[in-house]
């Protein structure tokens, strides 16, 4: 305990340190430089999070050269701020216009947008911000206290464990859907197939690329998400003549009601716990966290019948989970030098530019940098909540912008965002195509969320399955011999049974009905 206080002390001193800055020829003494960089980072992060399609990866890449001239601590604090700031901002577009600003806000769309349609965008945004803040504080503390031992836990996850975890994830994708079961399964499978496009990792064979070299690395997640949610939503909106004006008139209050407060704290706690745990795992951990949190809530909540129709739990839990996951995903980076996602890979680049090789020795050799960064995350979260709560009123006003002005700007931002990922016009065409596919799905009452989950998990699952089989020399029993892996598989079977026994479910519903 003493150590933690001491270490966080080092961090706070670093974050609030006054430095003299050379600007042009001018030297300005006593500037709280690091805290300013933190502010710049979270502001930028919020902004790009709100803009659909433009994500932290492209932004951080563009800012890398700027960081050459900064001090290492200042540079990394700013880049980290962009990352978790984007997690905050990403939920805003998800709730207001049904476009996930970030991969992790895909599930926020489901209930967040429904809340907005009912005139409850204010409470939805507030709960997203409060949940994120709480999760950010808790997970920062977790990083500070347990980073090294948790990194060891992350190493316990091999291909067997990942595969089984993803099986569980896919099974829960079916639970995500609130419509027809068959349609949800069909969407998961369509997602799996789309995920297979590209070069096979093991053999190098190109699959479903139709001779297009642009498809050799597969279809980008942002492209699919922007198409299926963004473009599709715009088509669907334009179809209705009177459309969107209705839902700003109904805005009653900006703040969560007492009832809301009562309903949201438990989901926030559960989301934070799940997010912190899954965020540690490299490769899709934080993303699985938000899907997992939603599924969990839907299973345990008293209000599960409201899910998909604007349940506040459906926003609170995944938003807490994705922010907690965003913070704990720094653990493998800072303790092992292993990036857990594309943004973390960029952070490694930024550290290399500064002449720091990320790895186990960063903590002991550069304690000011390590603890400064961790402390800055807490400070940054505090800034974000101070920044975001007053902004809610402004975001709501955005909904009063006439749709004929709003939708072309959204389209432009999405196109810019999708293009910026690999500078290929092809991706923009692809996005339009997915917009059409999304529209067809809406017409057929098939939901896009299970497709997205299948799309992300499919290729990862295949990769881990085949790697596990290679390492075990073809012994499939190895999945059951590893305790963690076996645990996930058992959980999947139990969950599957719960879904596949509609008779059982019906009986339960009757029982509940009888009680009432």
């Amino acid at each position: 305990m003493h150590d933690i206080v001491h270490n966080l002390g080092i961090g706070f001193v670093e974050v609030f340190k006054l430095q003299s800055i050379a600007l042009g020829g001018l030297t300005i003494p006593d500037v709280p430089f690091n805290i300013l960089m933190c502010l710049v980072g979270v502001l930028l992060g919020t902004l790009i999070g709100v803009l659909p399609g433009i994500g932290p990866v492209a932004t951080i890449a563009m800012l890398l050269p700027v960081t050459f001239k900064l001090s290492p601590v200042g540079a990394l604090i700013m880049l980290a701020g962009i990352y978790y700031g984007a997690q905050y901002g990403g939920s805003t577009t998800a709730i207001l216009v049904n476009i996930p600003g970030e991969a992790s806000s895909v599930v926020t769309c489901i209930d967040g947008y429904q809340m907005a349609r009912q005139g409850r965008a204010g409470p939805a945004l507030a709960v997203a911000a409060l949940g994120s803040f709480f999760a950010g504080c808790v997970s920062t503390l977790i990083v500070a206290m347990f980073a090294p031992p948790l990194a060891e836990v992350a190493l316990k996850f091999g291909p067997w464990e990942y595969f089984s975890l993803m099986v569980l994830g896919l099974v829960s994708a079916v639970v995500l859907a609130h419509g027809s079961l068959i349609k949800a399964i069909a969407m998961v499978i369509l997602g799996l197939l789309l995920g297979l496009v590209g070069t096979d990792v093991n053999s190098g064979v190109l699959r479903f690329t139709f001779g297009l070299s642009e498809l050799a690395d597969g279809i980008g997640f942002v492209t699919v998400a922007m198409g299926m949610f963004g473009v599709c939503e715009i088509i669907a909106n334009l179809e209705q003549k009177e459309g969107r004006e209705i839902f700003t008139k109904k805005v009653s209050h900006l703040w969560p009601s007492r009832e809301d407060w009562k309903r949201m704290w438990a989901p926030i706690l559960r989301g934070t716990a799940l997010g912190s745990a899954l965020g540690i795992l490299p490769g899709g951990g934080a993303l699985l966290a938000s899907f997992g949190a939603y599924t969990l809530e839907k299973k345990v909540s008293k209000y599960s019948h409201e899910f998909g129709k604007g349940a506040i739990e459906g926003v609170a839990s995944p938003e807490s989970a994705n922010n907690a996951g965003a913070q704990t995903s720094f653990i493998p980076l800072l303790t092992l030098g292993i990036p857990s996602n594309a943004v973390m890979a960029l952070m490694i680049g930024a550290m290399m530019i500064q002449g720091i090789s990320p790895g186990p020795q960063v903590m002991s050799e550069k304690p000011a940098l390590f603890w400064g960064m961790i402390t800055s995350m807490w400070v940054g979260n505090l800034m974000l909540i101070v920044l975001n709560l007053p902004l809610i009123g402004m975001w709501i006003k955005l909904l009063t912008v006439p749709y004929r002005i709003l939708y072309p700007s959204i389209l432009v931002f999405m196109a810019v965002g999708v293009f910026s990922i690999s500078n290929q016009p092809f991706d923009c065409f692809l996005m339009s195509l997915f917009g059409l596919l999304g529209y067809i799905c809406v017409r057929l009452e098939c939901e896009p969320a299970p497709l997205i989950l299948g799309f992300i998990l499919g290729p990862l699952m295949e990769e881990h399955l085949r790697r596990a089989m290679l390492l075990a020399r073809g012994d499939a029993m190895s999945f059951l011999q590893k305790p963690i892996s076996a645990g996930f598989l058992v959980a999947s079977v139990v969950l599957l049974a719960a879904i596949a026994l509609p008779a059982l479910r019906k009986k339960r519903e009757e029982a509940f009905a009888a009680e009432e």
Partner: protein, 320 residues
């Protein structure tokens, strides 16, 4: 002597440039990989330095895809006016031409190879639980336990994979190749002991080696690395002639005017020799290279192409 030459080159360039007016507008440096990796980071470093010398912005543009082939092909087919450049790498210009069944450009004929920017050795690292403490012990262990060892790599056809194949070939051992999606998850499984060895990039392996979490057995280049001067080379350890490194450098479309190529070469050499750039490239494991002129670079690319043609064929790796 070198200074005089450089001066002559600069003087010549200074003379030739105004006549031609190059560069009169911003330059584009295409990186055929996603942002954040070492190729991207070094491109941004060098670009920032070069734009001061050229008096025009040098914009780094990422065009990732198909193992770098999309970006390389884009530059090969760009106007040869000196404004579109490529950060070509061992993958795009030595390995992929043999690895891919169809490749839309010619790594030699379609490019002017201007300046080699970075050359980094790979290191043979093993998990701490493996009893082998030297290359000889590793070979003995592999022979005593055939088919038991796994080696990880960042992808099929990567330098890490091909170094492993070369190792197997030269020592007559058998190990199973486990490909990953990038070197980072491969390193994670190596740390955890699910795979036993890996030919990893020096810069990424170094922190874990220094922290005692992985054991380095040898470097893959002919010369020892100044980062781990006590570490023997594979060549010294009985694998005579083993010499592999990861490299990348600036290239231009084939018909780019000679004057522009020469000026660019001088500017880029100035950039990589500048102490602040050199220091940061060193953080990526790069040491000053003996390859400094466009001619030397071209000859180097040609010899690498040959080396990997043989190696890729023997490894059986291919992308169709």
């Amino acid at each position: 002597m070198r200074r005089i030459l450089l001066f002559c080159a600069l003087a010549f360039a200074a003379q030739a440039a105004p006549a031609q007016g190059w560069p009169a507008k911003p330059l584009h440096l295409v990186v055929p990989y996603p942002p954040g990796g070492p190729v991207d980071v070094s491109a941004r470093l060098v670009a920032q330095h070069a734009q001061q010398a050229l008096g025009q912005p040098v914009l780094v543009e990422n065009k990732p895809g198909a193992g770098g082939n999309i970006g390389a092909d884009f530059v090969a087919k760009s106007a040869p006016d000196g404004y579109t450049l490529l950060m070509g790498a061992i993958a795009t210009h030595a390995i992929n031409p043999s690895l891919y069944a169809r490749i839309p450009y010619d790594a030699l004929k379609d490019f002017r190879h201007v300046t080699l920017v970075v050359q980094v050795p790979n290191v043979l690292v093993v998990n701490n639980d493996l009893p082998a403490r030297s290359v000889q012990e590793l070979v003995a262990y592999a022979k005593a336990h055939p088919g038991k060892l796994d080696f990880a790599s960042g992808s099929t056809g990567s330098t890490g994979h091909l170094a492993g194949e070369m190792f197997k070939m030269m020592t007559g051992t058998f190990m199973v190749h486990i490909p990953y999606r990038g070197a980072a998850p491969a390193a994670a499984d190596l740390l955890a002991g699910r795979v036993q060895l890996m030919f990893d990039n020096l810069a990424s392996a170094l922190p874990n080696v220094k922290a005692g979490k992985l054991r380095a057995l040898a470097v893959t280049t002919r010369a020892r690395s100044s980062f781990l001067p006590e570490l023997p080379t594979l060549d010294e350890s009985g694998l005579k002639g083993f010499d592999m490194s990861t490299w990348w450098g600036v290239m231009a479309p084939a018909k780019t005017p000679a004057a522009a190529v020469e000026r660019l070469s001088a500017v880029l050499l100035g950039a990589i020799d500048a102490p602040e750039v050199r220091e940061r490239l060193r953080a990526m494991g790069a040491e000053p290279s003996a390859i400094r002129t466009p001619e030397q670079f071209s000859a180097f690319v040609a010899s690498e192409l040959q080396t990997y043609a043989v190696l890729v064929k023997r490894s059986g790796a291919k992308v169709e």
